[in-house]
Assembly symmetry: C2
Homo-oligomer: 336 residues x 2
Amino acid sequence: MKLATYKDGSRDGQLVVVARDLGTAHYATGIADHLQQVLDDWSFLSPQLQDVYDSLNSGKARHAFPFDPQRCMAPLPRAYQWADGSAYINHVELVRLARNAEVPANYYTEPLMYQGGSDDFLGPCDDVVCVSEAHGIDFEAEVAVVTGDVAMGSSPEQALDGIRLVMLANDVSLRHLIPDELAKNFGFLQSKPATAFSPVAVTLDEFGDSWRQGRLGLTLQSTWNGRTVGLCDAGEEMTFHFGQLIAHLCKTRNVRAGSIIGSGTVSNRATEVDGKKEWARGYSCIAEKRAIETIQDGKPATDYMKFGDIIRIEMKGRSGQSIFGAIDQKITPLIK
Amino acid sequence: MKLATYKDGSRDGQLVVVARDLGTAHYATGIADHLQQVLDDWSFLSPQLQDVYDSLNSGKARHAFPFDPQRCMAPLPRAYQWADGSAYINHVELVRLARNAEVPANYYTEPLMYQGGSDDFLGPCDDVVCVSEAHGIDFEAEVAVVTGDVAMGSSPEQALDGIRLVMLANDVSLRHLIPDELAKNFGFLQSKPATAFSPVAVTLDEFGDSWRQGRLGLTLQSTWNGRTVGLCDAGEEMTFHFGQLIAHLCKTRNVRAGSIIGSGTVSNRATEVDGKKEWARGYSCIAEKRAIETIQDGKPATDYMKFGDIIRIEMKGRSGQSIFGAIDQKITPLIK
């Protein structure tokens, strides 16, 4: 099942069911107005939405209309929790190697995760409004899951059962604000502006065997100003799967329905070609490209994003069809 | 105006208007079911609630009933944002002095603030359920504000206009999990379990001149197992006022209606008595008491909280009447 939220001028928009091929959609009116309601009462409401989905896919939905990602808010336009992991240790290794820092041993046994702001998400085609190019504007292409209730102290396996939906995320980062902010030890705040999500959120049954024990084994494509810069495999190299990420989060507290948990930048290891390291799959954030350049040439060559830049993030199934629709955003300046 | 949320078995409870003296209450039915709705549409809905409030205070409300804080959820049982400052620099100074660490110069010019979890708040009389006493269970008595929409880049003065309500908070902390977590630089996560809030949330007009430019000049009382351990002045020594805290948060992003911003542990400077430092006002968290003991005697003498302990946090007006009702919680073990 695929769900989206259409803009209607309200803060939470209108829930729509979207056909598997993203061609048509149908309002969920009469079942639920907002996705949060569905997550609050999943076992009762989701079968009703599934019926709409089935009729859409079979071309029998009476009030179907063409689906337009431009009209989408984030599937959850605001949420009660957004916790983002850094689950691809290769990303951490590259960034640390570039500044000659060791990876602490416990990074391999316990996920890194930060609490993000969740009051003001961006739709997939909304502008990324930034105060200044000097902040070092970067995209981060990620996979994210939306949970039901997961009780305090749940195991990674129990936590896997709490996953309701999967989305893509652009966890926009202001790189030049990060060092000072992290030096204060209290985590990210100003360096993480509003996060954007894909047009649709997708249930696990849609992925077949591409979803394997909390990892999504498909290719995440990042296209920056029309040039494909990343074709990263989101599956095998995810050091901590989503069940482990959620279990980490709920170790001392309950995780409640509608919580969004991110994977962190999807990242793949280099391969050796003629004794030289190559990162043929590219990158899912500019910081990683700059780290690779620093490791290879002593300094970064790629600059961060400028106003007017376009970032597109998409994931296709094995048949080549877009699964989530594309995040497709322009970087724009704040006008006060 | 004073607003509370009554438990009704649902996730968001039922909004009630509470009389100034906390004696009676009235359902807000017909105006709004939930506090978030009011915050989403404040200028339209709050005058209607004010009418109910006025009739309650004059004893003319037709369906008033006795107000019972035991039946309260947090005023916002879940929120789209909880960002907690550390606005009393005295607290930071004491904790750092106890471990022979300097206070970085920018701590005096820029607030410390972390992003907290907001999906599962506790009501004022709900048990604090903890996994283990060995985690070092501490209370933190704080003042918190709830905002309307505050645009990206707002000044501290503009941000002050965005404040809608004031509450008290118990920002429960697991002290022994903090060092490892902060060493990872990504901020608090497991070390900050669910936060509790006072029975009622209060509009600024209730405070008269006790509310001065973003600071609440009243005494915050913390009582641990029946013994008053803190009578701290929340006003003058707040290094960064709430407008500054919100402006810090919205520097690179919008802050949306229903965001909760906390002051951090309320803390007062020592006074010199016969050449000796005395902290006559006590403390608003155990970690601060332990820091003072370490400074004075080389090691802490006060242990953290045990299962069965009771923490009560309250603030009284100049007339001696409780303003927010009391946070009154028992520490209990997680039963799986």
